[in-house]
Symmetry: C2
Subunit: 351 residues, 2 copies
C-alpha cells in the first residue's frame, strides 16, 4: 500500500454510512501511551527515539488488526506526503512536522492508525463511520492489549498511564465524534449545541483545517478529562447522553426547515449545487461551505441524483495536498482553485 | 393589441441586435411638446386636460408610423398595468401615477410611443436597438412633423419649443443610449466612463428600476442641454464622439479580461449561469447582476448555447409587474422571487 493509492480513495470511516450518519459523520477513539524506562519526547535523545520507533513499529506490525497495515516513515516523507496524511486525519500536524525518528502504522482502510513519537511515544487511533464509539473502544482496547504484551507501558496503579502532557494522564483516552450540524446553523440555533457542550468537560473544534474554528457546519466534539473517569464511562456518556441530545436538536431544526422554510432551504441547496457544478475557481473554504449544503440536501432527500459518499469524497480529495499529489505537481493557490473546481464539476456531472 | 400580449414579448429595440449591440443596447430620442393656447399641466383644468388628450390622441392615431399603433387610457389602467408599461419604458413613472385624463399611443413593436399629458402635453419617443441615434432622429422628426400639421405647438422663434420645465426648452430633445459596461466594472475602471461623461452636459442613470442608481453594469447616458444646440449637433456628438469613446474603453477592458484574467472571467460567468439555473428564490436585483455577467459571457463567446435575445427577454420578463401580469395574480415579494427563479431556470434550460 502506498500513499499515492490511499490519496485517491475514500477512508472507510468517511463513507457517509453507519448509525446516525446523517448527523454523526464518524467516531474516533485515541489512546496515548509511553514506554517505561524512556524519557518523554522533548527530553528524548535521537538514538533512544530511534529505538522506540523500531520497538513500537515491529510490535504494532505483528498485531492482527483484521486487515493489512503498512508503515510510513514520517520523518522521511515529503512535506506534501505529510500534509496528505494530516488531511486524512491519519497523523497530526505536530507529528508531520515533528523532530527526529517517527513514523505511522496505517491500516489499508484507514480504520486504524498508530503514530509513533508524536507528543507521546505512541498514539493509537481507531475510526468508524457514524456513531460507533462503543465499537471503537472494543477494537482499540484489543489492539492496545496486544501491543502491551510486547512492550512495557509507563503506568502507575494510582495515576494510570503516564503521558507527556498531564491532560492525558490516567486513561490517556480521547473520544470524539465528528458532527454535521447545518440546520442548527441555518436556523440560527447553533447556540443550543454550544450550550449542550459547554458546561461539561468537552472541547469543540473544526473537522477540517488546522485551526480550532469550525468551517462549513462541521464540528468535532471530544472529551477533556482523562483522569478519574473510566474509558467506558466516557464512551457511554457520549453514546447515551451527549450525542443523542445534539442529534435531537439538529433533527428538529431540519424538520423546521422542511416544514416552514422549504423554499429558502431548497434555494440554498440548489444554489450550492449550481455553484459547485459551474465554478471555475473555488477555494477549499468555499468548497466546504457548499458541499456542506449539498450534504444536507442529499440527507433530506432534496437532492436525489448524488450520494453522500460522493460528497464526502469531494471533501477529502479537494484538500490542498490531495490535489497536488493526485496531480503529480506542486500547485500554487490559484492553480489549486482551478483544479479543485475541475474535479468537483467533473464528479458532480457523473451520474 | 392588448397589454397582456405585449407583456409576453420582447420589445424590438431590446432584442440585443443592432450596431455595436455588444455594448450599446439601445438608442432613444424623446421630444417634449405642448399645445398652443393651453396652460402647462400643473395649471390645466381637468376638462381642458381631457380636450388635449382627445386632440392629441386622434392626431397621433392618424399618423402613419409604419406599423400598427394602439391607444392606452393610462388613467383607467390598473396600477399593475401602469407598472408594466413603466418597466417596458413605454411610459414614465410620473405618467403612470399622474393626475387626470392621460394616455399613451404605443406601436406594436414598441419602437414608438407617445405620452399624452405627462409633464408636457406631449412626449414622443422613438427607440431602436444598438447605436442608431441618427435613425431615431429622422424617424421622430417625421412623426413630429405629421402631428404638427394637425395641432399647433407652443413655439417661439427665439426660444424654440416651450416646455413645462425650463430644462427642456428649445429643442425639447433628450437623446439617450443604454450601455452595458461589465468589463469596465469588473476591472475597476468604471471611473473612465464617469470621467468621459462628467465634464460635458450629460446625465448618467440606471437602465432598470426607479432610482438613478445603475444596477448590474447598465447605464443610461443622456444629454442635459436643449437650448442653443441643434438636435443634429447633439446626435452627432453622441454618435461620433462620446459613445465611440466609451465603446473603446469597454472593448479594451474586455480584451484585458480575456487575455490576462480568463480564469476569473470564466468563473464569474459560469457561476452566474450556475446560480441562474439552480436558484429557487431570486430577487430582481440579483437577477440583474447575474444576467449582466451572462450577457458578457455570451458577447465574449464564453457561453455558446444561449443568445442575447434570451438574456434580454429575461431582463424584461422577470420585472415585478411582468411577473404578476403574466401569472394573472398579485404576488408578494417572496412569491415573486420564487416565480422569477422558475422562469429563469426554465428559460435557460431550453435549448
Amino acid at each position: 500500500m502506498k500513499l499515492e493509492k490511499i490519496s485517491k480513495q475514500i477512508s472507510k470511516w468517511f463513507d457517509g454510512r453507519g448509525p446516525h450518519s446523517e448527523i454523526v459523520i464518524s467516531s474516533r477513539i485515541r489512546l496515548a501511551r509511553n514506554i517505561a524506562g524512556y524519557e518523554f519526547l522533548p527530553r528524548l535523545k535521537p538514538e533512544r527515539q530511534a529505538e522506540i520507533l523500531e520497538k513500537l513499529k515491529s510490535a504494532i506490525l505483528s498485531v492482527n488488526v483484521g486487515e493489512e497495515v503498512f508503515f510510513i516513515d514520517v520523518a522521511a516523507s515529503s512535506e506534501l506526503e505529510q500534509d496528505l496524511m494530516v488531511e486524512r486525519h491519519l497523523i497530526s500536524h505536530r507529528h508531520a512536522r515533528g523532530k527526529g525518528p517517527r513514523g505511522a502504522v496505517i491500516a489499508g482502510t484507514e480504520a486504524f492508525t498508530a503514530m509513533i513519537n508524536e507528543e507521546d511515544h505512541l498514539r493509537l487511533q481507531v475510526f468508524k463511520n457514524g456513531l460507533q464509539l462503543t465499537e471503537c473502544l472494543a477494537e482499540i482496547n484489543k489492539i492496545d492489549d496486544e501491543i502491551e504484551k510486547q512492550v512495557e507501558y509507563a503506568f502507575s496503579p494510582k495515576y494510570g498511564y503516564f503521558t507527556a502532557c498531564p491532560t492525558n494522564l490516567g486513561t490517556g483516552i480521547r473520544v470524539s465524534v465528528m458532527l454535521h450540524l447545518p440546520a442548527l446553523k441555518m436556523t440560527g440555533q447553533i447556540e443550543k449545541f454550544f450550550n449542550a457542550t459547554s458546561d461539561t468537560d468537552l472541547a469543540v473544534r473544526g473537522l477540517f483545517g488546522e485551526g480550532t474554528e469550525a468551517i462549513g457546519d462541521f464540528f468535532q466534539l471530544s472529551n477533556q478529562i482523562t483522569l478519574g473517569v473510566s474509558e467506558t464511562e466516557i464512551v457511554e456518556e457520549f453514546t447515551n447522553d451527549i450525542v443523542p441530545r445534539i442529534i435531537d436538536y439538529e433533527t428538529l431544526a431540519r424538520e423546521e426547515l422542511l416544514s416552514s422554510q422549504k423554499a429558502v432551504l431548497d434555494d440554498k441547496i440548489q444554489r450550492a449545487m449550481g455553484l459547485l457544478k459551474s465554478a471555475r475557481l473555488i477555494s477549499s473554504q468555499e468548497a466546504l461551505f457548499l458541499l456542506s449544503n449539498v450534504r444536507l440536501g442529499v440527507n433530506l432527500g432534496r437532492i436525489k441524483d448524488i450520494d453522500i459518499s460522493t460528497v464526502n469524497e469531494l471533501f477529502m480529495l479537494t484538500q490542498p495536498a490531495h490535489l497536488q499529489i493526485n496531480n503529480n505537481k506542486i500547485l500554487d493557490s490559484e492553480q489549486r482553485d482551478i483544479v479543485r473546481a475541475e474535479i468537483i464539476r467533473k464528479r458532480l456531472s457523473q451520474k
